[in-house]
């Protein structure tokens, strides 16, 4: 059952076939990392993740809706509401937002929408960065058809690696958001350190990501659902079981809430008390850090 | 000035810590306890206060029944009961000074402990001694567990010298605040006295009680349940 853009997909090599050939040349333990439940060379992970996202880019939203039964929209709007970011009335300096790994732009446009509706903020700028040009291309298509494309240059798109972000200068952003992207970084701590670098003092780091469920009964049900149903849905809807298998496995490997909070503190952020909010029993979690 | 106000305002530590403070002087100060560490100390004082209350009333019950019937046991029981009263008073004072919430089921513990004391004493003097064995065994293990945690989980509190600078590797003697040291000393002293009661009870024919296993195991279970409840409620 193929959906549109199949031409785009078939020209990109499937990530796991690349994996089978690279196993022969595996080097020492330190230069390997995890790719879902596989162990791969660090240099290869970026390419493999790129492959996954290129192949899911066009159906990304449909797959998100199918996988989380639409709840991901609730999570994202809760994230935007809790962040409550925007230039307040009576203030004279607009904010600079940076949305990382937000290729398709839903969080980015949601943030701008929220700022406009709640605070009448029409001046804050938004930079959407993504390592994957295909995902970014989807975002640009959406932007062209949206109201934000009003010639004011508020929104721009950059292809950037979240771990280095060479094009973004130090101390230049007020709000750094990353939704469901940080688990794909090869070196999460480097990503956090870069976030610290690009934020201005007083800037907020906000991360929405899948996390560990604390209740063991619900966790059992959730694992059963993820590992059996999701790749199957990937197969049926997008004819791409392996990418969705990777997505599910990468969720499992992501650090727990407290551990990730520790990593955020290690990058230099001040984490307010508790530091994370569990959504739906911990299936997703919002982590906050402040650069002081 | 009212006596209560004097107590509130005085910078001298209450008598329990005065001796320790004299040794350390005012040259060091300590960082804060984490929320979890405070929660544990709160729990320790509450459950130990309830435990000593229970022990106090158990001996009260046993004494009431046995003292007249068995005059030779009177001094033994009296001595053990007096020590328990002292333990209970110490924890009462500690509960007030540290502003810890006492267990809300205190009336229940009073009635229950008195009931256990009286009923085992009515069964027989050996049964009363067996009850003592059971209770003291559980309390001994319980105090040991508390000591283990107090020794292991309170290692990371920073120590500051008189200028406010953190001392990198403090001596064994000043590493723990007088508050924690005196609590640990108190608990180990009380544990030793409880184990002494255990030995006394065995000397006085505890093992001759007829349903020995049943009695001791049942009472141990009840004690463990009471400890679990008093920690939380």
């Amino acid at each position: 059952m193929r959906i549109s853009s199949s031409a785009l997909r078939s020209s990109i090599p499937k990530p796991f076939s690349a994996l089978r050939t690279s196993f022969r040349g595996l080097s020492t333990e330190e230069s390997t990392t995890h790719f879902g439940f596989q162990t791969v060379n660090k240099e290869d992970k970026e390419k493999l993740v790129g492959g996954v996202f290129s192949s899911v880019a066009s159906n990304y939203d449909i797959m998100n809706d199918a996988m989380s039964l639409g709840i991901h929209r609730l999570w994202k709007s809760h994230f935007i509401n809790r962040l409550d970011a925007g230039m307040r009335p009576g203030s004279n300096r607009p904010l600079d937002f940076l949305d990382v790994a937000g290729g398709t732009g839903d969080i980015a446009f949601g943030l701008l929408d929220h700022a406009e509706k709640k605070f009448q903020d029409t001046k804050s700028t938004m930079t959407i960065a993504d390592i994957n040009a295909d995902m970014l291309a989807e975002g640009e298509i959406r932007y062209k058809n949206s109201k934000w494309n009003d010639g004011s240059d508020r929104v721009n798109f950059l292809v950037q690696n979240g771990e280095t972000m060479d094009a973004i200068p130090d101390n230049s952003k007020d709000v750094y958001t990353i939704a469901y992207g940080i688990r794909n970084f090869t070196d999460i701590q480097a990503g956090l350190n870069t976030a610290y670098r690009v934020l201005k003092p007083g800037g907020i780091f906000a991360c929405l990501e899948f996390s560990q469920v604390d209740n063991s009964i619900i966790d059992y049900a959730y694992q059963a659902y993820s590992f059996s149903l999701l790749p199957l849905m990937g197969q049926l809807i997008a004819n791409d079981r392996e990418s969705y298998q990777y997505l599910v496995e990468s969720i499992r490997n992501f650090p727990k809430q407290e551990e990730f909070k520790g990593m955020i503190e290690k990058a230099g952020f001040y984490v307010p008390e508790k530091g994370y909010e569990n959504l739906t029993f911990g299936v997703s979690a919002i982590h906050i850090g402040v650069k002081l | 000035m009212s006596i209560v106000s004097k107590r509130l305002l005085s910078s001298a530590a209450p008598p329990l810590e005065a001796a320790a403070k004299k040794f350390y002087g005012d040259k060091v100060s300590y960082g804060s306890l984490s929320k979890a560490q405070k929660a544990f100390l709160d729990r320790v004082i509450r459950v130990d206060q309830a435990g000593e209350l229970g022990a106090n009333y158990i001996y009260f019950g046993q004494y009431t029944v046995l003292a007249t019937k068995y005059p030779h046991l009177k001094p033994v029981l009296q001595h053990m009961w007096d020590q328990e009263i002292h333990h209970h008073d110490t924890f009462n004072k500690l509960q007030t000074q540290r502003r810890v919430r006492p267990s809300i089921l205190t009336p229940l513990w009073k009635v229950g402990a008195f009931g256990i004391g009286v009923s085992t004493a009515l069964i027989g003097k050996e049964a009363a001694m067996a009850c003592t064995v059971a209770v003291e065994t559980v309390i001994g293990g319980h105090y040991n567990q508390q000591l283990r945690i107090l020794m292991n989980q309170y290692q990371d509190i920073p120590v500051y010298d008189e200028h406010g600078k953190e001392i990198a590797e403090p001596d064994m003697e000043i590493k723990d605040s007088p508050e924690l040291t005196s609590l640990k000393d108190l608990i180990s002293q009380f544990r030793d006295e409880e184990l002494e009661h255990l030995d006394t009870a065995i000397e006085h024919d505890a093992e001759k009680a007829v349903p020995y296993m049943l009695l001791t195991e049942a009472i141990k279970l009840v004690c463990k349940g009471a400890i679990w409840t008093a920690e939380r409620v």
Binding site: R82, S91, I204, E277, V290 | G31, F40, D42, N92, V100
Partner: protein, 250 residues
């Protein structure tokens, strides 16, 4: 061979507990170093003008010359507290620490009062006095406290206040009376505060009388629990003696 010691430290819920003597920084009501409390403390001075509104927080951030993004530290609060509720809670905590400072001042007239219940009365009146500058805005703040999702946290703060008041008054109870005294003070305080909202007398004279009356009534209750215990023990002893004497006869 050696049993693993499980990390048995209990999960710390929000309840006030354990006042440390050698670790005084553990007893702080408001942590003065954190950025959240800096912002909130500064917003308190805008309350007389704007009430318990999130605009106070915005103004405070602008006063302190922090960027607007810092709002997110407060709005993204992990417990889900709204800005207005956080403002109200912070105000309550600051008043409680003000009360503590008042007590710690040796020159205060509080220290010449001997009777425990009169001390309670004095403390409640003193705390209510801190409401006077914002009395017109207070009803909105109090309504924040009683919404169902905020209720548990506001009750915790109320219990902390009555624990403080009863402790400063000199309570030394070790049993059920500990609970009855604090419950009593909590209810008197809530009733007095609500009374104060609609009190138009000179210098809130009527509220002060109200507090005194309530505490006097409560004084009588104080001995009730101990009396019940004594009565129960007396009757139990009497019953045992009765049974013994009947048994002897039969």
């Amino acid at each position: 061979m050696f049993k693993q010691v499980r990390a048995y430290i209990p999960k710390a819920r929000g309840v006030r507990f354990y006042h440390s003597i050698d670790h005084p920084s553990s007893n702080l009501i408001v942590n003065p170093d954190s950025i959240e409390s800096t912002i909130l403390t500064n917003s308190l001075k805008h309350i007389p003008k704007y009430g318990f509104n999130s605009y106070c927080v915005t103004k405070s951030i602008q006063d302190l010359k922090y960027p607007d993004s810092i709002h997110s530290v407060l709005t993204s609060n992990a417990d889900g507290k709204s800005l207005e509720f956080q403002l109200m809670l912070h105000w309550l905590r600051i008043q409680r620490s003000k009360l503590h400072e008042h007590i710690m001042d040796p020159a205060s007239e509080f220290h010449s009062i001997e009777n425990e219940y009169e001390r309670v009365s004095y403390l409640i009146k003193q705390r209510l006095q801190y409401n006077e500058p914002i009395i017109k805005k207070l009803s909105y703040g109090l309504s924040q406290l009683s919404t169902p999702y905020n209720l548990s946290q506001s009750l915790e703060e109320l219990h902390n206040l009555s624990d403080d008041i009863v402790y400063y008054a000199g309570d030394e109870s070790n049993d059920f009376a500990w609970y009855t005294k604090r419950a009593g003070v909590s209810s008197i305080y809530v009733a007095s505060e609500l009374y104060m909202l609609s009190d138009t007398s000179e210098n809130f004279k009527n509220t002060k009388e109200f507090v005194d009356n309530r505490v006097r009534g409560f004084d009588g209750l104080g001995g009730v629990y101990n009396n019940i215990e004594q009565w129960g023990a007396f009757n139990a002893i009497g019953l045992v003696n009765l049974v013994k004497s009947q048994w002897m006869r039969g």
